[in-house]
Symmetry: C2
Subunit: 197 residues, 2 copies
């Protein structure tokens, strides 16, 4: 739902309307079935206005994802209970994947070769996640429940990577049982201080 009969919009106003329309369309029909003309129609804009701004569907969708990302930059407060915190983070990732951004990401994989463009996009999505997971780990290190070595990027990345892998290969985000299993069988054993047996 955008505004109602605002005459003729221009500039940022119009741009926002188009990006919103893109997100809605993405959520409804998915990346593969996204038609530029549908986005234009939904935004009540001319196709030319879209092409003036973005050269291709991929660019448009990436802009929309970025736009969306800028909105939901919520803070995360680690509780110190590492397992519970990670579960929260992972559920948040699942929710993100269930929305239009998830569709966008899946779409990109198809066209993503080894370009700087792709790297930029990946960083943009990964970096905030890594920061959050690292925070959680740090809280755990502080209270002695997590090994300091867990801060290695590959390990910090592990839970998010597995979430993404599930999402990309199954077409839907990991359900709670899977999240639990990932935590109990993989992540927690790796990061917790080895209890002297």
């Amino acid at each position: 739902m955008t505004e109602s009969t605002p005459g003729r919009r221009r500039g940022d106003d119009l741009e926002r309307a188009i990006l919103e329309a893109t997100l809605e369309e993405l959520a409804e029909v998915g990346y593969a079935n996204l038609r530029i003309e549908s986005v234009a129609a939904r935004a009540r804009a001319g196709k030319a206005s879209l092409y003036k701004r973005w050269p291709s569907r991929a660019h448009l969708v990436r802009a929309a994802a970025r736009y969306q990302g800028a909105k939901g930059d919520k803070h995360f407060e680690p509780s110190g209970d590492v397992r519970a915190d990670l579960a929260r983070v992972m559920r948040r990732i699942a929710a993100f994947q269930a929305g239009p951004d998830g569709e966008a990401i899946r779409g990109f994989v198809g066209e993503l070769t080894d370009t700087p463009e792709g790297e930029e996009l990946r960083d943009q999505i990964e970096r905030p996640r890594l920061r959050v997971v690292a925070q959680v780990f740090e809280a755990g290190i502080a209270n002695g429940t997590v090994r300091p070595e867990a801060l290695a990027p590959r390990i910090v990345n592990l839970a998010p990577s597995l979430m993404t892998h599930y999402f990309l290969t199954r077409g839907k985000p990991a359900p709670p049982e899977v999240i639990d299993e990932i935590l109990d069988l993989v992540v927690m054993p790796l990061i917790t201080e080895r209890s002297p047996e």
Copy 2:
């Protein structure tokens, strides 16, 4: 390179030629840019012959991947050195991803929603990998270097999943350094018998 002027092929002969052409085309232009007409041209076949056999590009490509898979069903003999064996398996996965099958897989992700079709395809790719990794683990369990709990599917799946994740998100298979890091920081610590410190 297919055969030379075999008059007019039919049946399995023709089918093989088309699948070969699909694989070549896939390797050259990738899934996203695969044109049915190019495949037909390369196979010196009519489009109708393709559509008679496979209803869509996705089906054609899946058939080609299966065809290819049927060729390279090599046996794997675990040496007992778990780390070395896993490294070999992972390098093999990387090589697989670098070829036309990799392109095919990436392509499917875009259209893969939560359907039985998708599940079938995933199984087809995952199952052999899991068998191999499980064999490696079993050899390790037998000689006491691997914990029996490592046979949990989620853990057996771990290395292949991370390979796939890298491939899908970077557009190219994981290089050797990444494989080493995955092994040393993630997989090996998780599966090896905890040494009493």
